[in-house]
């Protein structure tokens, strides 16, 4: 149904679904964290994934990173389907192409390992370079690439001797070490200060250009997504509700939720008086999916139909999709 599947995409995801079982024995409930997501990321493309907290962004990243097994759905890398269960070798190959940068730089580095050790592991595990000297050289190269100069000083530092921004750079260097094609960046800047945040985003953009990387850039900051991404996908309650080119989504948001998001984002540049929000209703409960549109209870435009029947993804133009009955169905 969606034409987002392009063979030339580095990564394609089809009908991705993830359910978590929580509770145990007598009290099992199912969290529908991701509900049939289709998306694709092109070569050297940044796809921004935006959504409120708990909407399933991290879960998508982890599914792609093979930290979780999907409940349903397929993942294609370079057009080839990736099986759910892989042997170690195949998995290693996959990991070589797909790496991840974490949200919290403070907890994504093992506090007991020096930067040098942390960076040496991917090199060793994937046999990127051989010989201790080469490894050392490669590490320094990586550090420099990520703006940690002089590199020699950093190899012998423990994470706690680094600032948040520096730690995040090490995290990026680690992902970079295996020359991946795709980096899943799960809110890599949300724990950082504004100014450092910008540095990191700039670094990521530079690396993309230089190494021909693609990113899945997850954030809840619409402005940040706009700054980074070529295309933006908006998520709500485990569903993709809108996807389109970055400028389109920001300038002409179609889905009511995207519109709301835009309203809520501070934008002093467009006048200091903040926009008024009219919103009622509660955040969705993922253990009890609604029969209709998940956003319907909070949607200012909700009609009868919205709470009865789930809307389908609607193609607006070549690159633009929205899941809403407001548009012709």
């Amino acid at each position: 149904m969606q034409s987002d599947y392009k063979v030339e995409n580095i990564l394609n995801v089809k009908g991705l679904k993830k359910e978590f079982k929580i509770g145990s024995f007598t009290n099992v409930r199912t969290v529908h964290a991701v509900n049939g997501v289709d998306l694709g990321i092109g070569q050297k493309e940044v796809l921004g994934l935006v959504g409120e907290s708990g909407s399933g962004k991290t879960t998508i990243a982890r599914l792609i990173a093979k930290l979780y097994d999907p409940t349903d759905g397929k993942i294609f890398l370079n057009g080839k389907e990736i099986p759910h269960k892989m042997n170690r070798k195949a998995l290693l190959n996959y990991r070589k192409d797909v790496q991840m940068v974490f949200q919290d730089p403070f907890s994504s580095l093992n506090p007991l390992h020096k930067v040098g050790y942390t960076l040496s592991r991917p090199l060793k595990v994937h046999k990127i370079v051989n010989g201790n000297n080469n490894i050392k050289e490669k590490i320094e190269e990586l550090l420099e690439e990520c703006g940690l100069t002089p590199a020699k000083d950093f190899t012998n530092k423990y994470p706690h001797e680094l600032s948040g921004g520096q730690m995040q750079r090490v995290g990026i260097a680690r992902a970079l070490a295996v020359n991946p094609k795709l980096i899943l960046a799960d809110e890599p800047t949300s724990m950082l200060d504004v100014s450092i945040r910008l540095d990191i985003m700039n670094l990521m953009l530079d690396l993309k250009e230089k190494n021909g990387l693609s990113y899945l850039f997850i954030t809840h900051d619409l402005a940040g997504a706009h700054y980074m991404s070529d295309r933006i996908a908006i998520m709500y309650a485990g569903f993709l509700v809108e996807i389109g080119s970055s400028d389109d989504v920001i300038n002409k948001p179609m889905h009511p939720y995207t519109q709301l998001l835009k309203k809520a984002t501070p934008k002093p540049e467009s006048g200091l008086e903040p926009e008024k929000l009219d919103i009622t209703g509660e955040v969705p409960d993922l253990t009890k999916l609604l029969p209709g549109c998940q956003f319907a209870p909070r949607c200012p435009f909700a009609k009868q139909r919205c709470s009865e029947e789930p809307p389908k993804m609607l193609q607006i133009d070549e690159n633009r999709f929205v899941r809403c009955f407001l548009y012709k169905h």
Binding site: G23, F25, T26, N27
Partner: protein
Amino acid sequence: MKYVLKRITFFIVTAWVALTINFILPRMMPGNPAQAMIAKFHGRLNPQAIHALKIAFGIDVQKNLLLQYIDYIKRILTGDFGISLSFFPSPVNQILSYAIPWTLGLVGVSTVIAFSIGTLLGIRTAWRRESTSSGIIIPIFLFLNSMPYFWFALLISYLFAFKLKWFPLVGAYSLNIPKGFNLARIASILYHAILPACTIIITATGGWLLTMRNNMISVLSDDYVAFAQAKGLPDKVIEYKYAARNAILPSFTGFAMALGFVISGALLTEIVFSYPGIGYILYQSVLNLDYPLMQAIFLFIMIAVLTANFIADLFYALLDPRVRTGAE
């Protein structure tokens, strides 16, 4: 309710596994009860008598294990543990019924006291963490907690019962007191329980103190305590309503878990003070290969612990709405 169901499931499964272990363990012990019995007769018994006794005692070593197991489960479900070998021909139930009230009374009450004192001290030392008194109290209790308690029991029994004669040396109550339930009897029971209870209380309090103190300190750094302070609530209210109430929750589980240890651990106290209780009976039953008795006591202790756990869990649920209403 779901929570309760869940706990019950755990309770039953654990109990079943424990019962099975309980069945297997004594059978893994070397020697057999028949020989243990014969030993009692100093070898004078004639072979027919041995056979007759075996039947009388229900020591039928011929039966296969599965049948024995089924029999065993049946007995447990009906609450009939058979006849004790070492106290032949008293039924196991009767022996237990003499011992259990004392164990529960002494161990239960003194553990509760130790728990209460320890918890209170834990609250205080955590609240006034930097004070000198905390600095002194903690090492003292660590020391008391590290004493082998039969050793401590011996010392105080020599000193207070034998030398100073302040307390009775042995027994659970005085003999020359009219039968039945009366004040004099209660007084006598309490009087006899003082020394044994003291050893348990003095040596056990430290553990609870530490547990509570650590919990309390954790809780004190929680935001809701600071918030309570910001609300301008009086210190006592913060200390007890906000901090201690939350900090005590994990202690309950610990308390339940500890109960089994304390019940059986009281064995040493029982020996030193010749206090009635199941610890010593268990010890004897093990030494005499008295399967029926051993199993019953083991079972009793496990059930006691499981029940205590169960109650602690319910308590927990009562005090912690997160558990009750099934929050993640």
